[in-house]
């Protein structure tokens, strides 16, 4: 009985599972973002997205890793992600953000392939510095390019 209750309690967080990825480009420059994630068939950073182009002042949102199976920029090499097992099994790991020249930021969560949460790059958008930040709030991942 007790085991059952514990199992039930453990399963509760999954019901309102929140693990979306929200990306914001608040700079005045276009950026290209590559997203890294994992699921039951792919180890940490084993899922690599195609190139997501974000114009100045654009944002993007992805509900879960499987969203990228059917939504641009998709996963590279025909990779397919699954949400099987819940957020204990799958998750967003990090991102590579570049503008093709000065800006070259690899950031992400602790324990990922890019375990650095914040990077500032001087003169990355004209003479403006660009800060790239990865943070997790309420189970959701936020990638802010400021």
């Amino acid at each position: 009985m007790r085991t059952f209750l514990i199992a039930l309690l453990l399963s509760l967080p999954a019901i309102g599972a929140k693990a979306a990825l929200f990306i914001t480009n608040n700079t005045n420059c276009s950026v290209t973002v590559t997203i890294y994630a994992h699921d039951q068939n792919h180890s940490v950073c084993g899922l690599e997205s195609g190139s997501l182009q974000l114009a100045a002042g654009e944002s993007a949102a992805f509900n879960n890793v499987a969203t990228l199976n059917t939504t641009l920029p998709g996963w590279q090499n025909g990779q397919m992600a699954t949400t099987a097992g819940g957020t204990a099994v799958w998750g967003w790991d990090g991102a590579f953000v570049t503008n093709g020249s000065t800006l070259w930021a690899q950031i992400g969560r602790t324990g990922s392939c890019f375990p650095i949460p914040v990077l500032a790059t001087p003169n990355a958008c004209g003479t403006s510095s660009v800060t790239t930040a990865w943070h997790v709030v309420g189970g959701n991942a936020f990638l802010d390019i400021i």
């Binding site: 929140k18 929200f22 002042g57 914040v118 800060t131 709030v137 936020f142 400021i146």
Partner: protein
């Protein structure tokens, strides 16, 4: 030490931030919502968006209120006055066909609530400030 520095850096970034609005529907049902905002020098909720339909496991992302004009558009030909990036998000209204639940600030009195969705299930609608962004989550 590094964590502290990171936290401090994020904190410093916050005041100058122009917030994005993200809507995340992790419920099992399609939802219909409106967003409310105001121009830099305007009054709370003076801008009302048209209804937008978000499928189960669907998301919406607005970098700034100016983007609402493109999709789904503002009601009655409303427009953001001044810099769209300086406009402020006020609330989100969820409609289930018979009643409305409004969460947020300004014209909303609650930031979270529960209401029946169009599929007959209890739907949580939650408005939170996540770092520099505003996040509205809809979930069963």
């Amino acid at each position: 030490m590094r964590k502290l520095f990171t936290a401090a850096l994020l904190f410093l970034l916050a005041p100058a931030a122009r917030a994005a609005l993200f809507i995340n529907n992790t419920s099992k049902c399609t939802v219909q919502v409106r967003v409310y905002a105001h121009s830099e020098k305007g009054k709370a909720c003076e801008l009302e968006s048209k209804i937008m339909t978000i499928p189960s496991m669907g998301t919406m992302a607005f970098n700034n209120a100016g983007q609402v004009a493109e999709n789904p558009g503002w009601e009655k030909g409303m427009t953001v006055a001044g810099d769209p990036k300086a406009a402020v998000w006020d609330a989100l209204g969820f409609h289930n066909g018979t009643s409305t639940l409004k969460v947020g600030t300004g014209c909303a009195t609650v930031t979270t609530g529960v209401v029946k969705d169009a599929c007959g299930a209890d739907l949580n609608v939650k408005w939170t400030i996540a770092g520099r962004n505003i996040l509205v989550e809809l979930y069963n």
